[in-house]
Symmetry: C2
Subunit: 362 residues, 2 copies
């Protein structure tokens, strides 16, 4: 973190008409955002959530209770405006103002979105302003990594490069805050495999969840353990991503690295997105200066991964939906924190008596 | 809580295109809001934060590090648009859309806001749309309750009735969600006195705070203990409010009771507002069906009071600023939760395959 900017930002905050430190974590968020933007006070005038849809070959092992067709169906739902992320990204007003751009990315859905008659393409032609579809499909779902590598080396490079191209897109669009969401049946199994291959204990990152019975949990744990064992040893984070990753998660890692290089802040969501962030972090530890943890998901493995990266979640609301829902909620908090630093009066300008004491409640 | 409506709302949520229960506490919030509005799904189309400014005679005992003039100065700052609550209530967009109405209430500021030349009246004449000033002044600050009762019986009735008139105002304005904030030097001491008089242990509700030295803390604790002892026994919650209360806190209690009678949801803020909510709760236990705890303040005494009322804070961001800042932040979360219940597609309408299993992450 840029210490000089952080100090400058802290001084700016201390001059505003409030007891010092009284905005709590909002002040920490603004300071971090100022440091990454190298601007005092910082600014968020345009923001977007990128939701990555992809299929995962590992679903053939029966690790998920939803059929894999749901990935494509939910991509259509997002483009049609009916998903949770549409409601939450649409702004905090009933007029739908002050919303996020919503960019649905096909990173590797099994259905053929490139065919001329595909429903997704028809929907993509009539999207309302601020809703976009980007076809970055690497393949029709990854291979089943219990039996073979999830993707080829070339596919991995393509996925990482596609992520980088999305960071370029974000810069071109003028997004100053990017949230990342996931939509893919089986992606929690892939996420867990990435983390186990990276050294996290199996029991820490494979979740029981609610409603899943013990037999299914044991099966999921066994599948992940076997798959990781089969592919050992891993030469590098790239090697892990290629062998037991997903097109979506690899692309997210590429995006995170690309945002870092462009000094754009990034709000991550739940367990799958955080596992992708962890892979980016494994390649470049400095990404955490640009990352904000939107929320603590109900998925058990989320907390230890965030903790390893030194990220403290902003919200803790027991959510576990994905799609970037936790990230955009927290993004409003960050945006409002940034807003206070831009629009509040100083003690001097408002003619309010200051106290020489720090952090005292008036 | 209306159980039939709650059940109906739960079914509505379970049909939406997301794993059951995956919106976590957002679902609990929507269900509670539906039950209080008796509407499935519920609605928040207009909302306001009422910020109560008043002075407290107990400040003569040196319990606060800010001079009491700050109450009036901050009221001016709020009306001028320079306070933290202005930034946070102004909407999550940089265009200022989707904002809260901000109603600054003079419940009993020591400065004379009724004089023709008062700065506050000049400002009140040029307020932008959505920012309002209401003069409900009961007196020029309460008396010092270490030596006499904080207010007369007539003043207490006036304050409660003024609160009721604000609930009437909220209904007339069409506010479907009301947040309550505080601005008054010394109000945490008054809040602590109300709670100690109500039976909370002194050490649980008198906070050390950060930056306050041990001598000042001991002094504050002694002042509150002595004051409460002097006024014992207390015949009723009203008696407590009259003897060791504040014009602002009594008026908030009246507002909370009035909102409950009009089935309007209410988001409370930090320690002082929560103490006022506790007094309303002491008079009518059913108010909690209409109350939402915006956040957990850094002020130590906040948690036990919320817990006693069975309210779980939505946010925990280490804030301790007051003015309704935590309440409006949490209000956006509630509004967005309500929005999902209105705008999301159902499994059937979106053609998405459902799972028969509950609460499973896809």
């Amino acid at each position: 973190m840029n210490g000089t900017i952080a100090e400058h930002m802290q001084k700016h905050l201390d001059n505003l008409t409030k007891p010092r430190g009284s905005l709590g974590r909002l002040e920490d968020l603004v300071i971090k955002f100022a440091a990454l933007q190298e601007r005092v006070p910082p600014r968020i005038s345009k923001k977007a959530v990128y939701v990555f849809a992809a299929d995962h070959g590992i679903t053939a092992e029966g690790v998920s209770l939803y059929p894999k067709e749901v990935t494509y169906q939910m991509l259509l739902n997002i483009l049609s405006g009916g998903a949770a992320i549409n409601a939450l990204a649409g702004g905090a007003g009933t007029d739908g103002a002050s919303s996020w751009d919503l960019v649905a990315v096909d990173a590797g859905v099994a259905a053929d979105t490139t065919a001329e008659d595909a429903a997704v393409l028809k929907l993509a032609e009539v999207l309302p302003p601020g809703r976009r579809f980007l076809n970055k499909k690497i393949g029709a779902g990854t291979a089943n990594f219990l039996h073979q590598t999830a993707m080829t080396e070339i596919e991995l490079e393509e996925a990482l490069a596609a992520g980088e191209s999305l960071a370029e897109d974000a810069e071109k669009q003028g997004y100053e805050l990017v949230a990342i969401g996931d939509m893919g049946i089986g992606n929690t199994s892939t996420a867990a495999a990435l983390l186990v291959a990276s050294g996290f204990p199996l029991d820490e990152v494979v979740d029981r969840g609610t409603g899943i019975d013990s037999a299914t949990l044991n099966h999921k744990r066994d599948v992940i353990a076997q798959a990781v064992k089969k592919h050992r040893p891993f030469a590098s984070p790239r090697d892990i991503l290629q062998k037991v990753g997903g097109y979506d998660l690899a692309m997210m890692a590429g995006l995170i690295l690309g945002l870092r290089n462009r000094k754009i802040g990034c709000m991550i969501d739940g367990f799958p997105v955080t596992s992708a962030a962890y892979m980016a972090y494994s390649m470049d530890k400095t990404v955490t200066d640009y990352l904000f943890a939107g929320h603590l998901s109900k998925v058990k493995g989320h907390r230890p991964v965030l903790a390893t990266m030194g990220l403290e979640p902003i919200l803790d609301l027991g959510m576990h939906l994905g799609e970037g829902t936790g990230a955009v909620l927290a993004g409003y908090i960050l945006e409002l924190a940034v807003k206070t630093s831009n629009s509040m009066a100083s003690f001097e300008s408002a003619g309010v008596s200051d106290s020489s004491h720090e952090e005292e409640k008036y």
